[in-house]
Amino acid sequence: MYSRAYKAAVAIPPLAWVITFLLIPYAALFCYSFWSVSPSQTIVHTWSLANYLRLVENPMYSTVLLRSLLIAASVMICALLIGYPLAYYLSFHATKRKDLLYQLVIIPLWASYLVRGYAWKTILGTDGVLNGLLRFLHLTNHPLQFLLYSPFAVVLTLTHIYTPFAFLPIYASLEHVPRNLIEASHDLGAGPWATFRRVILPLSIPGVLAGATFAFVLTFGDFLAPLLVGGNSGIMIANIVASDFGAAFQWPLGAAISLCMLLLVVGTLFATESLERRLKPS
């Protein structure tokens, strides 16, 4: 048995970390969200629900929030549509090239986020690679404007960035599907498609939920991609938070938005967890 002193010594560092960098900041955020800013640009420490009322009353916030949720959902769906078949192929059909392909999926994660964001800017811009190619092939006469600075560009960029995050847990769950279950399914007369639908897919659901959560939550909180390729029509809720805490000096309002986002994310996590419990074999 370990002594009490040893247990305490082991428990204190992580506990201190959580208190210092998680609980205290959130408590501060919580307090700020009820305060306000005076005309002389100082924080007024009086408690009111004004910030939250403003979020409800001003339709701009709900529009951007809804757009953020839609972009997050789109990225999640795209990441799953790309990540699942990729993980499936790698796990079940790539025999010799498995390790190489796995590395190829992972390597983009090593490149800086900014590099990948700027890369899309170069590809999608008015004089960008894609428009150049389309004109070269005489598919269009003038550059397509909707490619860059649009929600489409944000979804494309974030799908590129977050697909590996969806891929990894799906791949892990597929790797854990016992191969003799697939043989048993074939043995019992189920063809490849029936085997996928009735054995492989149900057993990979935990990975799909984890991957979907990653893609959704990370996208929902993203503010760099909209900044780089989103333009005015691609602004997301995190951009508003960033500006409230920056140039706009609206810390209390930013705190209120942050807390709303936090509630949404925690709600999402709870929902997926209960969904997973429901789908999991008892």
Binding site: P178, H186, D187, L188, G189, G191, R198, V199, K280
Partner: protein, 372 residues
């Protein structure tokens, strides 16, 4: 006077007019390693045939080839007059009971058993009744709604059996299904398996490394060694008439003697007996229970006319004696570094030099396959 030739050996394979399953010159290699070499084997409808062999003998590979999980390297497999090996596993009318059970963890016991029926689009209204009947057959009907993970190994084994049998396969493949069970449960399951097979009348192809299990269950045993079939015969015959030295050693205990045949007599050291084997060097298998201890009266009679009686006599010193209940295991030193083991019923304490005998017909000439 009876001739030793009157007791002819019975023909080994039960002749099968139209075999249900026909394995013809099947080959399989994994990379450079040859796993199965020229395996030919016919299985009759309703037969309980055991493929017996040590680990690495290729027995599981043979089963997987029939199930369709591996591709043939050569040869053909036929079932009921049709090529089987060209079909994908899900189109073959065979089902497998896996060594590790391979229960679907996300499905209940009921759904596990119903899986094959649903996959083959059986009449929806019939499924519940058929599943219940299959579960009742293995005495698992009260566990229908349980998750497989809550069942013990023996219970999972029964469900695996029901899951395979509910599809009424033409051949049931069983891959060491009892090896994960403890000894008691194993014996019980052996008995149940045998009676179940009689009840449903389905052909069982059973893979095991346990020779006692093979002897207890099978109509015929196919003994596989290093990818080659050593012998295919009924348990009684494979025990009494092993074809090779390996078979003789693998099935039960045996004495292997190097003998030389000259003019109708076999000479193994000082032991001589009459034989119909052709002249030359040969190897002979002699079961320990075939060796008798002679009392003095017998001994006198034997010395009078050893040529006419198809019985071999020899003297040997008792080297050790191990009590074994009904039969004692006695080691006999016959000189010239020849050591024979005999099972003698209730001999009492033995010592010194004694006289022994065995029926010449019990000394079975075997092909010496031990060196290759």
């Amino acid at each position: 006077m009876s001739s030793p030739l009157t007791r002819t050996s019975t023909s080994s394979a039960v002749s099968v007019p139209e075999p249900l399953l026909s394995i013809r010159s099947v080959e399989k290699r994994f990379g450079a390693r040859s796993v199965l070499r020229a395996i030919s084997l016919d299985v009759a409808a309703g037969e309980f045939l055991t493929i017996l062999g040590e680990s690495g003998s290729g027995k599981t590979t043979l089963l997987r080839l029939i199930a369709g999980f591996e591709q043939l390297g050569g040869g053909e497999i036929w079932m009921g007059g049709e090529r089987l090996d060209v079909l994908p596993p899900y189109a073959r009318e065979v089902n497998t009971v896996f060594q590790s059970y391979a229960m679907f963890p996300h499905l209940s016991v009921f759904e596990n058993v119903a899986y094959g029926l649903r996959a083959k689009r059986a009449n929806r209204n019939e499924i519940p009744a058929r599943v219940k009947q299959a579960l009742a057959m293995v005495k698992m009907d009260e566990f229908a709604e349980a998750a497989p993970s809550r069942l013990s190994g023996g219970q999972q084994q029964r469900v695996a059996l029901a899951r395979a049998l509910v599809n009424r396969p033409r051949v049931l493949l069983l891959d060491e299904p009892l090896s994960a069970l403890d000894a008691n449960l194993r014996r019980q399951m052996q008995t149940e398996l045998k009676s179940l097979q009689r009840e449903v009348g389905i052909t069982f192809l059973f893979v095991t490394h346990d020779q006692e299990e093979a002897m207890a269950l099978s109509d015929r045993i196919a003994l596989l060694r290093g990818g080659l079939l050593e012998q295919v015969a009924s348990p009684r015959e494979i025990y009494a008439r092993p074809a090779t030295a390996y078979v003789a050693q693998f099935i039960g205990q045996t004495n292997l003697l190097s003998a030389e045949v000259r003019d109708g007599f076999a000479h193994a050291g000082a032991i001589v007996w009459r034989t119909s084997a052709p002249s030359g060097k040969t190897m002979v298998a002699l079961r320990p229970e075939c060796i008798r201890l002679l009392d003095s009266v017998d001994s006198c009679a034997a010395e009078s006319s050893p040529d006419d009686v198809p019985t071999a006599h020899f003297r040997g010193r008792i080297r050790s004696q191990t009590f074994g209940g009904a039969m004692d295991l006695v080691e006999i030193d016959c000189g010239a570094s020849q050591l024979l083991r005999a099972r003698i019923p209730n001999p009492g304490p033995l010592a010194g030099e004694r006289e022994f005998a065995f029926c010449a017909d019990d000394a079975t000439p075997v092909r010496n396959t031990l060196q290759d």
